[in-house]
């Protein structure tokens, strides 16, 4: 049976796994943004904490993904469901690029702009929301893009703890020594990563000229 036919025959299963995969990625990205952006802001505001924050995120990044899924397994609540473990682990991986780019984006704002914002009598909160975040948004978005592509790739490993997604095909293909199964997971995962990269990249480029 050719690859094409195999794909057609398993279209609904592949589609379902792709949706699961997207779902895991979106969940992780939403959490990573919700946690990473504030941490990035804090690391700029409190340079003393910056090391601890970036260091922590760095360490998370170095834990082998398979091991990280395993570490989370015995935790209460989190360990009860495979998709919770998967989303938590993926969130940890996605944090570093988001924290780093949020901080870089804010730090690269022209000091004269920040000074005049302050001199006009803007409160720190107004400076953050009206000046710093809008101006660092393209850089922040670049971080989200890197994190998303990374997460889509790592999410295939979530299947090892039974969280579903396209990794299911890959793991099954590996154990059955069936390349068609591996490709049924790998090709949609790669396509997802490319699509995310292109879409977020386009938004990023659209925003840049207005922000110069």
């Amino acid at each position: 049976m050719g690859l094409e036919q195999f794909f057609l025959q398993n279209a609904s299963a592949i589609g379902e796994a792709t949706l699961e995969h997207i779902w895991l990625t979106l969940g992780a990205m939403a959490l990573a943004i919700a946690i990473g952006v504030p941490l990035g802001i804090v690391s700029v505001r409190r340079p003393g904490l910056s090391r601890a924050i970036l260091g922590g995120a760095n360490v998370a990044e170095t834990i082998p993904s398979l091991a990280l899924f395993g570490f989370l397994l015995p935790l209460p609540w989190l360990g009860e469901r495979a998709d919770r473990i998967a989303v938590a682990a993926l969130t940890l991986y996605a944090l570093l690029p988001i924290i780093r780019n949020t901080a870089t984006g804010i730090l690269s704002i022209d000091p004269a702009v920040r000074e005049s914002a302050k001199a006009m009598g803007m409160t720190p909160r107004q400076i953050l929301f009206q000046v710093e975040l809008p101006l660092s948004f393209p850089t922040l978005l670049a971080g989200v893009r890197i994190a998303t592509v990374l997460t889509i790739g790592i999410a295939t490993i979530a299947a090892a703890v039974g969280a579903g997604g396209l990794g299911e095909f890959i793991f099954r293909g590996l154990s059955m020594v069936d390349n068609r199964l591996i490709l049924a997971g790998a090709i949609p995962a790669a396509a997802l990563a490319i699509a995310a990269d292109v879409i977020l990249g386009t938004i990023e480029r659209r925003l840049k000229p207005a922000n110069r």
Partner: protein, 257 residues
């Protein structure tokens, strides 16, 4: 109540000093008064403490010793936000918000002060006209679509937006090419008479100081060397002041060639 002389000094440095957190001294025992409606020039070389002194007025910096008083109250007693909204601030790099149009840039402080949209719009038009930029043409532009001189004018309009009583200007014409510089400066001279504000202007350019200043405070090594009217400055036989005068003489000589 306050004495006669006090009601006339809008800003007052009382033995004010400033040290960096690492202990480096930038300003020492500055005693200086800015009178209502005057343009006081802070003149000196780079590193003489002029900009530091300026930033003490709107509390971008806080004095390490002594006091800086605005309208009779120490800047530390003021709510920093309220103080800054009363004081316009123009800097060499303009600090315009790159993601805001000209109109939005000028509207920042009026918006913070809660003006309604109609009033803000009218004010923006009025200010753009005042600084010589046709509103219809410039309102919607972004800072990167403007020339250096135009940006500087927008920066001035923004500083004037909520009609502050005091205007602080740090080398406002410093980044412009000589021709634009002369032009914007001439315009400012006319404008200065129309807006009638208390202005503190930092410069290292003697000609500019003489042209724009009511009085000139000469800074040297973090201290105030002396305060002079332009007449006194030109007539002074102090060697330091004579050295400053040489700066313009040389230039006039050059321009004469």
């Amino acid at each position: 109540m306050s004495s006669h002389s006090e009601s006339h000094s809008v800003v007052e440095f009382v033995h004010a000093g400033y040290c960096l957190p690492n202990g480096k001294r930038l300003l020492e025992d500055v005693h200086l008064e800015v009178r209502e409606g005057e343009t006081l020039i802070l003149l000196g070389r780079s590193g003489a403490g002029k900009t530091t002194a300026l930033k003490l007025i709107n509390r971008l910096l806080e004095p390490s010793e002594g006091q800086v008083r605005v309208e009779g109250r120490s800047t530390l007693e003021w709510d920093a936000i309220a103080l800054r909204r009363k004081i316009g601030y123009v800097i060499q790099e303009t600090g315009l918000f790159p993601h805001f149009t000209v109109e939005k840039n000028i509207s920042v402080v009026p918006k913070l002060e809660g003006w309604d949209a109609e009033r803000i719009k009218a004010r923006v038009n009025e200010l753009l006209e005042l600084v010589g930029l046709p509103a219809a043409q410039f309102r919607e532009r972004y800072p990167h679509e403007l020339s250096g001189g135009q940006r500087q004018r927008v920066g001035l309009a923004r500083a004037l937006a909520a009609d502050p009583g005091i205007l602080l200007m740090d080398e406002p014409f410093g980044e412009l090419d000589p021709l634009t510089r002369a032009e914007v400066r001439e315009e400012f001279l006319t404008l200065e008479k129309r807006i009638r504000k208390t202005i503190v202007l930092v410069t290292h350019d003697v000609a500019e100081a003489l042209l724009l200043g009511t009085r000139i405070a000469v800074f040297d090594g973090g201290r105030v060397h002396g305060v002079y009217t332009p007449r006194e400055f030109l007539d002074s036989d102090e060697p330091e002041i004579a050295a400053y005068r040489k700066q313009i003489r040389t230039r006039e000589d050059l321009e004469g060639v």
